[in-house]
Amino acid sequence: MPIQLTSQAYCKMLLHAAKYPHCAVNGLLVAEKTKEKKKDSHSVLCVDCVPLFHGTLALAPMLEVALTLIDTWCKENNYVIVGYYQANERTKDSRPNQVAEKVAARICENFIEAAIVMVDSGRLTVSCFEPIVHIYDHHENKWKSRDVTPESFEDWNEAQKITSALLEGRSYENLIDFDNHLDDLRNDWTNPVINKSVLDLC
């Protein structure tokens, strides 16, 4: 089943990329755990994302800590990790690299239909007039890109409006990723402040 993004998930990914425009950034996408497969559901709804790192993405220890910790957090909140997002350091390159594929493979162990979302930071603008993500699904051992349409979002107009407003208001200055948390444990990677701003704008 293909993934769908809520406004909260989409805008936090873009805020993360906007906070560190000169770095690669990555993070995890989570969805609510459903007890049984709803018969009429055509997609998996990513309700939130957890920004992980900026800068060097290719080192293992902190990634393992983050995956285990966030997995535990997910269990407490009835979420499941369903995807991985990344924005590359070079704006001209928006294809998934080895790091993306490795982390996604790890996520696939727990959730078979995990997706990779690549943020095309070269097209990041304050107005957000078009979606700037590429979504990749795993087919026959390869990651294939899928067309992104407004249907890839729970509500594209809302996502566009909220993301644009938060980018303009420079909310990305307050976005916390796991790296920020490791620098100072008081930094909360669940981003309650930004989540509230999103809710207020809905």
């Binding site: 425009p21 000169h22 060097t56 290719a58 080192l59 293992a60 220890p61 902190m62 393992e64 800590v65 285990t68 910790l69 966030i70 997995d71 535990t72 957090w73 407490e76 070079r90 001209k92 390159d93 080895q98 420079r170 948390h181 490791l182 620098d183 100072d184 444990l185 008081r186 909360d188 990677w189 669940t190 309650p192």
Partner: protein, 297 residues
């Protein structure tokens, strides 16, 4: 839009001092630098004295980061007027061309600097940055290696090279670069901790043990380094869980991991004092540490 001095209730001296601090820390908070610097230059330039030239340079580079070519040009023109034949200013002109992705022209500027002065390290490093921006990692690595043969003491270059190697997943060579940095900076806990992370990523029992030792060393140098603490916990746990180790090694590593667990829990407790939200993080950490203990035994 409200001015910086109004928004934050600061005077021009504080703004000037803030810019100096950011220069010394080499922070890349370009939007803030542009906000503060633009106002300082616009309204208080006469009070800044000779400081203004280095501020023009700092603001110009930050303006390039923010696509503020108008501001960058203004600063550049002032610097060109004051220092007409300067290589340092020429390098800034080159950087502006880089920002506009006119790499061929930028390279010409840097080449002309190097013809005049073959020891100009700044121009050489900019040429390597262009290779990096164009995605030519192999060439960038090769040029940086050649550069370091001549300028062995350039720490920024060693660090850049280690990052380039990490991105190419060549962890052995990245480790070598970090070893150079640790030798010349034995008290720097960040290099120790990064070295440990690279060794851990390389994998294998020997590298794991080495990584644990260097995480421990980083902690000795700075006992508040959370990455080192988590790293010590992870490496010790993995060693203890390995079927290839002797009973004594397993027992020792379980002890190290247990010590790390107490320290981690304590750190979270201290951080969570008085804040409701952080309790979720702390609980998740406790549970994570418990669940890993089960896999260890």
């Amino acid at each position: 839009m409200a001015s910086v001095s109004d928004l934050y209730d600061v005077g021009w001296e504080e703004m000037r001092d803030k810019l100096r601090k950011w220069r010394e820390d080499n922070s890349r908070n370009s939007e803030q630098i542009v906000d503060v610097g633009e106002e300082l230059i616009g309204e208080h330039s006469s009070k800044l004295g000779d400081d203004i030239w280095i501020i023009y340079e700092q603001v110009m580079i930050a303006a390039l980061d923010c696509s503020r070519d108008d501001l960058a040009l203004t600063c550049l023109q002032e610097l060109k007027k004051q220092f007409p034949d300067s290589h340092r200013v020429k390098r800034l002109s080159g950087m502006r061309l880089e920002a506009l992705e006119r790499y061929e022209e930028a390279n010409k500027y840097y080449d002309s600097i190097l013809q005049d002065d073959p020891t100009n390290t700044a121009a050489r490093k900019r040429k390597i940055s262009i290779l990096k921006a164009q995605g030519k990692s192999t060439e960038a690595i090769r040029e940086l290696n050649e550069y370091l043969e001549q300028f062995v003491g350039d720490q920024e270059a060693w660090h850049e090279l280690s990052e380039l190697y990490i991105n190419e997943h060549d962890y052995g060579k990245a480790a070598f670069c970090l070893e150079e940095l640790m030798m010349t900076n034995p008290h720097n806990h960040l290099y120790c901790e990064q070295y440990a992370e690279v060794k851990y990523t390389q994998g294998g029992l020997e590298n794991l043990e080495l990584s644990r030792k260097y995480f421990a060393q980083a902690l000795r140098l700075n006992n508040r380094n959370m990455r080192a603490l988590f790293g010590l916990y992870m490496s010790a746990s993995h060693i203890a869980a390995s079927p290839k180790v002797s009973a004594k090694v397993k027992k020792d590593n379980i002890k190290y991991a247990a010590w790390a667990t107490t320290q981690i829990n304590r750190a979270y407790k201290l951080a969570g004092r008085g804040s409701k939200e952080n309790k979720c993080s702390r609980k998740a950490v406790e549970e994570m540490l418990e669940s890993m203990q089960i896999t260890m035994s």
